[in-house]
């Protein structure tokens, strides 16, 4: 019954979900109950864990450009990680960002890769292409101990969560600007077989409208 105790002591302002330790997942859906990909969930323990997981070594992540689309739409990085932009299109791209996290620009010829770009502080950087305004991607830089991105099925898995009380935050690029991201307190118990937590995000339409044969938008 430790999970029940967790519920009782939860914050009065935030809803608390009690779930089991071990394998746990969040299922993200939109208002129409369709699974939402590219949502980022972070779980931050309210109290320091007795044995925090060792910090992973810095990694280099790839953001590709295919069919005038950045792939992936959202790339998660840790502070100290680097990103490489790769142009897999047959046309030139001009990748840039003016975000507070990092401002940069790369002109990439077809088949070319950028130099690794190190991101050293947490935050979200919107990245565009100055040639193709409809191209958009996000670099989500976070030092949260537990972080994941939803796939097309809307599921974000957290493989081995120690028991404890966490603050869950779920972000998506199409959340209404200026509105707070979804925040919820969850209590992880040492029971097993907890069902996934379903969260619903009201999303704006996808802004990555490609240049259609009926919309030129130059």
């Amino acid at each position: 019954m430790r999970w029940l105790l967790g519920v009782v002591i939860a914050s009065a302002l935030l809803a608390v979900r009690a779930v089991s330790a071990g394998e746990w997942s969040v299922r993200v859906q939109d208002d129409a109950h369709r699974p939402v990909g590219d949502a980022v969930a972070t779980l931050i323990p309210d109290a320091p864990l007795p044995a925090p997981a060792p910090r992973a070594p810095a990694a280099t992540k790839i953001v590709d450009q295919k069919d005038e689309t950045f792939v992936p739409y959202v790339q998660v990085l840790r502070p100290g990680d680097a990103v490489v932009f790769r142009n897999s299109d047959a046309t030139r791209h001009h990748v840039y960002s003016f975000s507070a996290v990092k401002s940069f620009e790369f002109v990439l010829a077809p088949g070319e890769k950028s130099e690794p770009l190190m991101l050293d502080k947490p935050g979200i950087a919107a990245v565009g292409c100055n040639i193709h305004d409809h191209m958009l991607t996000y670099l989500y830089v976070s030092d949260a101990p537990n972080i994941g991105v939803s796939g097309p099925d809307g599921v974000i898995g957290f493989p081995s969560l120690p028991p404890g009380r966490y603050t869950l935050r779920v972000w998506h690029p199409q959340l209404h600007p200026g509105r707070a991201e979804l925040t919820q307190v969850v209590q992880i118990s040492d029971n097993v077989s907890a069902p996934p937590l379903s969260v619903t995000l009201p999303l704006l339409p996808d802004p990555r409208t490609r240049m259609d044969r009926e919309h030129m938008e130059y």
């Binding site: 299109d89 046309t91 030139r92 003016f98 100055n130 704006l204 009926e214």
Partner: protein
Amino acid sequence: MKRRVRAALMLIALVAIPLANAQDITVHAYLDARLVAAPDMTSWTRGGVGKTRYGTADDGLRFGGAAVAIAIQATPSWLAFADVQYQTTDRSTLDVIEAYLRYRPVSTTPWRASVKVGAFMPPVSLENDGVGWTSPWTLTPSAINSWVGEELRAIGAQGQLEWRGKRQTLALSGALFKDNDPTGTLLADRGWSVSDLTYGMGSKLRVPDAYARVFGDPDHTRYNPFQEIDGRWGWYANLAWQAPGYGQVQLMRYDNRADPAAHTVYEGSADVFAWHTYFWSLGARTDTGAVTWIAQAMDGGTRIDPVPGLGVETRFRSAFLLVGWNLGAWRPALRVEHFSTGKRVNGSPTGRGESGNAVTAALNWRPRAWLRVTGEVLRVIGDRSELKALGLPTHFAQTQMQLSARLLY
């Protein structure tokens, strides 16, 4: 003017093409054929006073038009763009709707500046953003954007400054232009139309034959709307606001600053005037779920002083509301609009003008990316008291039906 457009196209070819890789050249095109059930009133495109593109003798299979738009990304900052169309309504013409060079360097701040030089559409329309100034919602654009497609073009330079915030984007653009002195002629002589016949540089517009017989030169009913007569620069300024989740709003002021007393000889006719044309335009667009709403209003005037001491001004107004449903391959759209003109002489209303309403219902079907099939019914109804002086009935009530197949590339 033709020489300037030709020079602009040559400049684009000389500057842009050698700098661009083949992969940086984008081509889009359309080809349209349609079945037409036309109203029994001679269309303005045949010298009549009918408001629609098609009228008497236009029933049957028609060539709707074709256009090719080429964009050349010469360097990461320089874009060359040209939109060329072929039309057979009115008369066969191959003409240039837009041809310009754009310089837009990257900015790693929220501010981004760009400059456009050449011949281009002022950013009036929230309807027409397709190849050949077409609309994805209906075959026939609103009366406002029908007129823009007929007579409005800027040949000059436009500067734009954007501020891109997290919640909203603001864009202020301003242009100095020439070669648009006769704009307004049609609104005064013919009134508004609801027609998708766009004119480019190289084509000539036609005033109603009956008007030319009574007030003008019956042997010369055509004029080039894109010519310079008085040597003055015109200007426009446009402020656009866009916010995700809310939509966009844009406000424009246009003034061609034409000298209303200036006129020129054109193909033997001495009555092509510089019409001093000015207007405000306010447009907005928003989405509620799968439904898109577009509204626009225009209020302005156009004036000539045909003889010293005589100022003839036509005030014009129009507004529309369009609602479109984005249902995947199906895209129904409905538009209602009102339009009017009123003539004043030396500032005093004459009681002459027009007032009308139009309803357009269209059903678009995109079974393939390269095919659009559209069925459209357009009803225009109103009165044009101006026609009394020409000995014509003043009431008009027209229904035009079209079934179009449009190939898209």
